[in-house]
Symmetry: C2
Subunit: 254 residues, 2 copies
């Protein structure tokens, strides 16, 4: 564990501690250097959102959990940043909603894929999909390393939770008629716009909130869950988050 | 040099190439892992600004260059990210405005300080200040590693250019009655608010623009330069940048 050198008097101490989780993940081979930059990109949106799970995000979380509970083959797609931020919660949520866990990396290396698998298994994951083999399948029309997916995982899934996703792949997955549930801090991103349900929140807060929500919704029948999904309007929800960000710019100015 | 794996079709290709400069800097021991995250934080503001040097930023650049040309002892404070993004321009600008170059790091290590010194000397810097010795001075009231400064550099300077600065140190330098010129992408940051002149722009664009501006202003007499400084209103300039960011949120929504 990397020793913290952040003065506790620092006004952004909480945000800097989360940075340290990422840097630790990087030192353990789980996070790509580019992943650290991507995290920072999200940090600004989080700062403008007030670094809290908004009511708007809670509405999306409810719809997301309902969709995942209704799915016949849900998958949680995991990249390095997510594994560094909340490995325990990934496993916990996957057990709750009966989802596969699949590693999928933009900056793929064999070492990183194995380091993430090891971390998730340490946290109790029984099976981790996406570790490349000759059986790997490919997402059509996608150029990046993320096109390689597990034949029995994402390739066959009907609903996929994609925290911290890139737009290219989200759009490709939607074209494959999959229901995509995104966790993204940028309501303007292509991922946010293309997903069926987008949770505008920091994954480090959204995943624990999803666990609480999924535990409650598991008690409900499919009709209730379907109603929640049908009543959810992703564009409207994104507009609300955007409005909160706009207000965040104003509030921080004062 | 790290081979680029970014597909040229990617809509954020330019921004991803800048990321690679940082990642290369990181691999060469110049950039701290936390610096990669900080860069990402700036990326979002740059995205909302339209990834261009705005007219508002150009006004600030003019005032910044005037202030630096009027100074009797200007210093350019360099951290890892700046050294990775534009080492050549740091040296070029320092020659133009007759400024010292001083290395100052939040996440200080001896190795990184020396790697940055080496990089700057490779780009033609004759003297690089701030390399720690028994003669190092300290900024009062500052807790972080950045408090250690060069006795004959920042400690004695009257004007300091601080690209990519943290708020604590900016405020401490202002308390020491130094004129601080900041380059920052967040118009809401404490650095932006505390500095005498804040350039809301990406340093990778601002430094070359400052070189062009300084070359022209060097021909002018002190009276002209003083008028430019006197007429510059930092709060007003920051409000304008904030308005551009607000419009950026709206424009990106469409």
């Amino acid at each position: 564990m990397h020793r913290s050198i952040i003065p506790s008097s620092h006004p952004r101490a909480k945000s800097l501690y989360i940075r340290e989780l990422l840097v630790n993940g990087f030192r353990n081979g789980i996070v790509a250097p580019e992943g650290l930059i991507a995290h920072g990109r999200g940090e600004t949106f989080d700062y403008l959102l007030g670094e809290n799970t908004t009511e708007t995000a809670r509405t999306a979380i409810k719809a997301a959990c309902s969709l995942l509970l209704l799915a016949s083959h849900p998958v949680i797609s995991v990249n390095g940043n997510l594994a560094a931020l909340c490995p325990k919660e990934i496993v916990e949520l996957s057990n709750l909603i009966n989802a596969d866990i699949e590693v999928n990396l933009f900056y793929w290396t064999r070492e990183r894929e194995l380091a993430i698998e090891k971390e998730l298994k340490k946290r109790g994951a029984k099976t981790v999909r996406g570790i490349r083999s000759k059986d790997s399948a490919r997402i059509p029309e996608l150029q990046s390393e993320r096109r390689t997916v597990d034949q029995d995982g994402i390739y066959k899934a009907d609903s996929i939770l994609v925290p911290l996703e890139d737009g290219d792949r989200t759009e490709a997955l939607v074209k494959m008629h999959k229901k995509v549930i995104a966790i993204d801090l940028n309501p303007l991103s292509r991922t946010s716009k293309a997903a069926a349900v987008t949770i505008i929140d920091n994954a480090i807060r959204a995943l624990p909130a999803m666990i609480v929500e999924a535990e409650q919704l598991k008690q409900k029948n499919d009709k209730v869950l379907k109603k929640i999904v049908d009543e959810f309007d992703n564009s409207k929800n994104l507009s609300e988050s955007l409005e909160i960000i706009r207000c965040g710019v104003n509030a921080r100015q004062r």
